[in-house]
Every structure is written in structure tokens, then in C-alpha cells.
């Protein structure tokens, strides 16, 4: 398949508020030619392959208390018990019990636990992909401390190997693997846009420098939908007087390999950034305003590569906080109240909850928190690849209602986040609900309010 084939098969929909492939006329939610039994077998083998002490401890300790449902935006908004987080893992729990649990020998010998069927796995595709953003809010409520989000990620690996990924998610992941970017932000597009933004905002851009201390990466959402963030990050870097660069051989921070569940692709995508950083001798790699990109490189990168990374990995909000806290980054006072939406992967699951708050404090903004905030923030509903899946739209909007209600109550004049995926979900939902609140980028706000040197 050439890239023209790609365009014909799964054309990107760059006109809408969120980027995905165009709504497919005919859905193909299974990939490859495989008999059903083989799909099931592949799924289970790959699930067990990933299995370790951590997942086993989780699988064994669930007491079926059902409290995780109460933390999940999809359950809370629909009341449908199938959206109970732990239920999303049911086929894999069954597989675990049959293959590795204490009574596995009994189950097998007596045939007590029937094998999971391919129909069930197909049914579970919706639960594992459409209705889970892996936001990990359920992890916070679980009295046994089970990290359900991790298990869902693991289950997705197995689903991918069995060719049971939703059409759009597979399409963008496949595009990312072949083109280097899931949403058409190829190296040449990237270069064009950098040039454009440099001219437009009269800011010095650095691309493909041979040596740099800091490598800046971008998410294709930003490149395609919010290119101003490229100018913004350049402004900040220049303001700080750092030796930084963009690299056309390592810029794409999103990792649809991870979201779709293909570990090989996930590694390929990680590798590009790691090698680019090594090439320029960067001591820091800065990840853009993208939630899952943070998890992919910051927490999974070294494990994907099989060795510690020779540089520090920072989310842009973390980096900004460091710089305002050590006084190098000087910002003007912004006379506005603000409500901040925490990106799950950066705050709750990334440990950088405080960083954006430090930055907003430096900007002198009055922070008006939502009722559930920080580590207990409700997910926007679009993470984990959910936003790309058309058939999940109705559910995603339903989940978004929580956000709107809480943000209205909090009442900040400005709405900020540090995740472009959340941002595009807000934009898309804003349009859907004809809502009057627009989401803004923390980075861009900082860039706009730098104190001139």
C-alpha cells in the first residue's frame, strides 16, 4: 500500500474539530484473516505473555465490590453495568482463571470454565476501546488498589494481536507506523508548518540542529490543529536561551502503537525520538501538551527500549513549572480567573499534578478548581484513542456532560489544560453542545505572556 492507497482507504478528516479518519462507510473492526478460534487463542497467549506478578496480584484480589463503576464517567453517565471497569476485563479474567489461576488444572481437567469465544471478544472490543480512556479514575477508587487502567492496556495488546481493534484506531495506528504520524503530519508537513509558524509569529525556529541540549517533540494533533503551540514552545525556549531543536527524524510524540495495543509499533515510535535525542546529544526531551505521549515516553519509553534513557523526559507543563520555580522563566501577570482541566495521564497517572498549578500561580491567575480535581479529575472522555472512534461519539458526548457541569460550577473565566487531545475533545464537544466555553493551552498562555528580555 502506498500513501495514496492510504488516503483512499482511510482518508483523514482534517476539517472537523477533532482529527481522525473520515467516518468509514463500512466498518472493518477485525483485521487479518484468521479463524475465530485462532483469534481467541492469539488473544489469550498474548495476554498471558504480558502477565507478571503485578497483573496476577490485581487479577487475584478483585472482590467484585463494583465500586469502580462509580468512578467511571461512562458508567456514571449511562448507568449501564457493562461499563463497569473491571467487567471490561472479564474475558481476560476468565482466561487467567483457566490458564494460570489456582484452580486452572481443575478447570481444564473438568472443563468447568469454558473457553472465551471470538464473539465475546468482539463484544468486548467496545468495552476495551470505545468505553475506556484508561484514565485510571477507577484505580483511585478501588479498595484493593487494582490498577485497572494498566490491565486494560495489557488486554489491548492481546486484542491487537488477535486483529480485534476498532477500525479507526487501527487505521491511524497503521498510518503512524508507515508515515511516522497518525494524522498525516509527515516530516515534510511538519517542516512546512514550522516554517509557516516561524514567519507568522516572527519567532526563530530551530530544525534539525546537529547538536542541542533540548529536543522538542510535538503531537500530530498540535501540528495539524494547533500549530501555534510550535511557535509557543519556540518562544519559550528562545526566552530561556536554551540550545534546543526540532528534529524531522524524531518529532512525533503521540504513540498510537501504544493506544491500539501494538507493542512493536509502540517501540518503533519511541525509538525515533530516542535516536534523534541521542544523535543531537540532548540531555532533556520535552514532550508536548499530549497526555498519552507523556506516559508512552516518560514511563514506558525506557522499558520499550530495554535500557534506561540517556536523557531526562519532561512534560511541557512540568518543564514550565521547573523554569518558573527556579526563576529563569519570567512571566507577566494575567488578570483572569482560571479553571484547569487535568489531563489524566499527566496528573493522576503521571505525578505532575502540581506543575500546571505552579505555572498558573506564577501567572498570578485565580485558580477556580472543579469539584473533583487534580488526581480525582473526571476524564474529558476522549483519551485512550476513544476520540478517533466514530461509533463512540454518542458515549463520549454523554461522558463530557460531567465536565461541562463541573466547569460551569467552578466558574473560571478562562479554561486551560495541558493536553491537546483533551483540547480537541473540548473543541469537538463544544461544537456538539453549542457550549460557550473554549479550551485553551497552558503553553500558549505562557508564551503570550513572557516578560521581554
Amino acid at each position: 500500500m502506498s500513501s495514496t492507497d492510504l488516503e483512499q482507504e482511510h482518508p483523514l478528516d482534517l476539517e472537523s474539530k477533532r482529527v481522525s479518519v473520515k467516518k468509514p462507510e463500512q466498518r472493518f473492526d477485525t483485521q487479518g484473516e484468521m479463524p475465530g478460534a485462532q483469534r481467541v487463542h492469539t488473544a489469550m497467549v498474548n495476554f498471558v505473555k504480558d502477565f507478571g506478578a503485578t497483573s496476577a496480584a490485581y487479577m487475584e484480589s478483585c472482590v467484585h465490590c463494583g465500586q469502580c463503576a462509580e468512578a467511571c464517567h461512562f458508567y456514571v453517565q449511562t448507568g449501564d453495568p457493562k461499563y463497569t471497569p473491571i467487567w471490561k476485563l472479564e474475558p481476560f479474567k476468565q482466561a487467567y482463571k483457566r490458564e494460570a489461576g489456582p484452580f486452572s488444572f481443575l478447570y481444564k481437567a473438568l472443563g468447568l470454565k469454558r473457553k472465551v469465544t471470538v464473539e465475546e471478544l468482539q463484544e468486548w472490543q467496545e468495552l476495551l476501546y470505545d468505553s475506556c480512556t484508561m484514565c485510571g479514575r477507577c484505580t483511585m477508587i478501588c479498595p484493593m488498589g487494582i490498577d485497572i487502567a494498566t490491565l486494560v492496556g495489557q488486554a489491548r495488546h492481546a486484542m491487537f494481536q488477535a486483529g480485534l481493534v476498532p477500525h479507526e484506531l487501527w487505521a491511524v495506528a497503521e498510518r503512524a507506523e508507515r508515515e511516522g504520524s497518525p494524522l498525516g503530519a509527515t516530516a515534510s508537513v511538519f517542516e512546512d508548518r514550522i516554517e509557516w509558524m516561524g514567519d507568522e509569529h516572527e519567532v526563530e525556529m530551530r530544525v534539525d540542529e546537529d547538536e542541542a541540549d533540548v529536543l522538542i517533540t510535538m503531537s500530530s494533533i498540535e501540528i495539524q490543529k494547533y500549530p501555534e503551540s510550535m511557535a509557543a514552545v519556540a518562544k519559550v525556549m528562545n526566552h530561556l536561551g536554551l540550545k534546543w531543536t526540532f528534529r524531522t527524524d524524531g518529532y512525533e510524540a503521540t504513540n498510537f502503537g501504544m493506544l491500539s495495543g501494538n507493542t512493536a509499533w509502540q517501540k518503533d515510535m519511541t525509538k525515533k525520538i530516542v535516536e534523534a535525542a541521542k544523535k543531537v546529544g540532548a540531555h532533556t526531551v520535552i514532550l508536548p501538551e499530549c497526555g498519552h505521549a507523556y506516559g508512552a515516553l516518560r514511563w514506558q519509553g525506557a522499558n520499550m527500549m530495554g535500557e534506561p534513557l540517556p536523557f531526562k523526559v519532561r512534560h511541557i507543563s512540568e518543564f514550565l513549572a521547573e523554569q518558573v520555580n527556579n526563576g529563569r522563566l519570567k512571566v507577566k501577570q494575567v488578570d483572569s480567573s482560571v479553571t484547569f482541566h487535568d489531563p489524566c495521564q499527566v496528573s493522576r497517572r503521571g505525578g505532575a499534578t502540581q506543575a500546571p498549578r505552579d505555572v498558573m500561580k506564577a501567572l498570578g491567575m485565580e485558580l477556580r478548581e472543579t469539584q473533583d480535581t487534580g488526581d480525582y479529575n473526571w476524564c474529558c472522555g476522549g483519551g485512550g484513542g476513544v476520540i478517533t472512534i466514530h461509533r463512540a461519539d454518542r458515549l463520549r458526548y454523554k461522558a463530557f456532560e460531567i465536565k461541562m457541569e463541573q466547569i460551569e460550577k467552578a466558574g473560571g473565566e478562562m479554561l486551560l489544560t495541558s493536553c491537546s487531545n483533551c483540547r480537541q475533545n473540548f473543541d469537538d464537544s463544544q461544537e456538539h453542545f453549542h457550549w460557550d466555553k473554549t479550551m485553551h493551552s497552558l503553553l500558549e498562555l505562557v508564551a503570550d505572556n513572557l516578560v521581554e528580555n
Binding site: A56, H64, P102, G351
Partner: protein, 219 residues
């Protein structure tokens, strides 16, 4: 050998052996599974502290969840604390523990124990009713959930029957034997069903606590 002798003798010995064997098996069987080294640069290194903190912090739901899980938590707590009081503060039980551990502790008055047992029983019934009626719980419940409930409530019921000398036609020593046997069955079932959470809770909470502490996330 009558039933009571069997319950107090070989059944007790074997059930304890199976209990200890099972717990060791389950724990070691999990701990020694593949454990990948986490190569990511940690935000903080106090991983053990995080594990311990989560083991405690998860005992109470976070404020953000209170309104949604208050009922199950309160009933759950009543049931767990009630059970603990009945098991550990009733004198005949303390004497049993003393025969193993070699020391004893003060008991609560039996009138208090009776009251607590009744409350515990009621809370268990409430939990079952919820499991049978709540759509989420109905969906995710399986044989283990109902069976473990039964295995837990039978000792409580038979214990109360023995204590109050209510045998419904059975003699006291028969009721006592059934009570002891039911506890022994609980011992045997505990490591293998969901009652295993009594020891696995430390493992799963600790695992997440360590993971989150490493990332500097809330433990």
C-alpha cells in the same frame, strides 16, 4: 470419634495446614511470577513508603468518591469490623487463639458480642441484597462471590446458634461441631477464593502504591 471430636481434632489440624499451605502457595505463586524491572527514571525513590501508604490510604475512599460509595463502604466496614470483633473479642475464640499463640487478650462482654454479631449478620444480609439487586453487582458477581458469602455467614450463624443454645432440634455439641467445622471450611476455602483478598489486599495495594510512588503520583 464423634463429630465434635473430629472437628476439634483432625479437621482442625488439616484445615490449618491447608490454610497455611494455601496462603503460602498463592502468595509465592504471585510474587515469583515475572517481574519486569522498571527502567524509567523515577520521579522519587521512596517506593516502599508509597506502597505502605497506599496500603493504609485505600482503607478509606477518597473524598471525591464519598457520595457515590458511602453506603457500600459503611456497610462493608460494619461487616468487617463486626466480624473482627466477633472473631477476636469473644472469649471462647480468644482461648482458641491462646492455644495457638500462647497468650490472650481481654474479651468483650458477651452481651456486646451478641449485639455485634446481630449487626454483622444484618450487614451481611444487606450486602447480599445489594449484590442481588444492584445492576453492576449482578453483572460482575460469580459463583465465588455467593459461595464466599455463604462460607462466611455460616460460621457466624452457627456460632450464634451455639452461643445461644439454639439448635433447631440439634444438640449443643452437634451445633458446636458444625460451627467449628464451618470455620474450618472457611480456613480451607480462604486461600483459593475471593476471601484471599484478606492477604492479597496488601500485595495489590502495595503494588499500585509502589508504582504510583515511583511516578510521584498520589499513593
Amino acid at each position: 470419634m464423634d463429630l465434635l471430636e473430629f472437628a476439634r481434632g483432625p479437621a482442625m489440624q488439616w484445615s490449618l495446614i491447608i490454610l497455611v499451605f494455601g496462603i503460602a502457595w498463592r502468595l509465592f505463586g504471585i510474587i515469583f511470577l515475572k517481574r519486569k524491572k522498571d527502567l524509567a527514571e523515577p520521579r522519587q525513590t521512596g517506593v516502599l513508603g508509597g506502597a505502605v501508604k497506599t496500603i493504609f490510604s485505600r482503607s478509606v475512599p477518597a473524598r471525591a468518591f464519598w457520595s457515590r460509595v458511602m453506603y457500600s463502604n459503611i456497610v462493608g466496614y460494619v461487616f468487617h469490623i463486626g466480624l473482627a470483633i466477633v472473631v477476636f473479642a469473644f472469649l471462647p475464640h480468644i482461648l482458641w487463639f491462646e492455644s495457638i499463640l500462647g497468650f490472650q487478650w481481654p474479651a468483650l462482654p458477651t452481651s456486646v458480642i451478641t449485639l455485634v454479631a446481630v449487626i454483622t449478620l444484618a450487614s451481611m444480609v444487606a450486602l447480599l441484597v445489594k449484590r442481588l439487586t444492584h445492576p453492576v453487582l449482578r453483572r460482575i458477581s460469580n459463583f465465588d462471590d455467593y459461595f464466599s458469602w455463604l462460607v462466611t455467614i455460616v460460621p457466624l450463624l452457627t456460632g450464634m446458634m451455639a452461643f445461644t443454645h439454639t439448635g433447631f432440634g440439634m444438640r449443643y455439641e452437634t451445633v458446636l461441631a458444625i460451627h467449628i467445622l464451618s470455620v474450618e471450611f472457611l480456613f480451607i476455602w480462604l486461600p483459593f477464593g475471593k476471601l484471599g483478598h484478606s492477604f492479597l489486599v496488601f500485595l495489590s495495594r502495595g503494588t499500585t502504591g509502589a508504582l504510583f510512588a515511583r511516578r510521584g503520583a498520589r499513593t
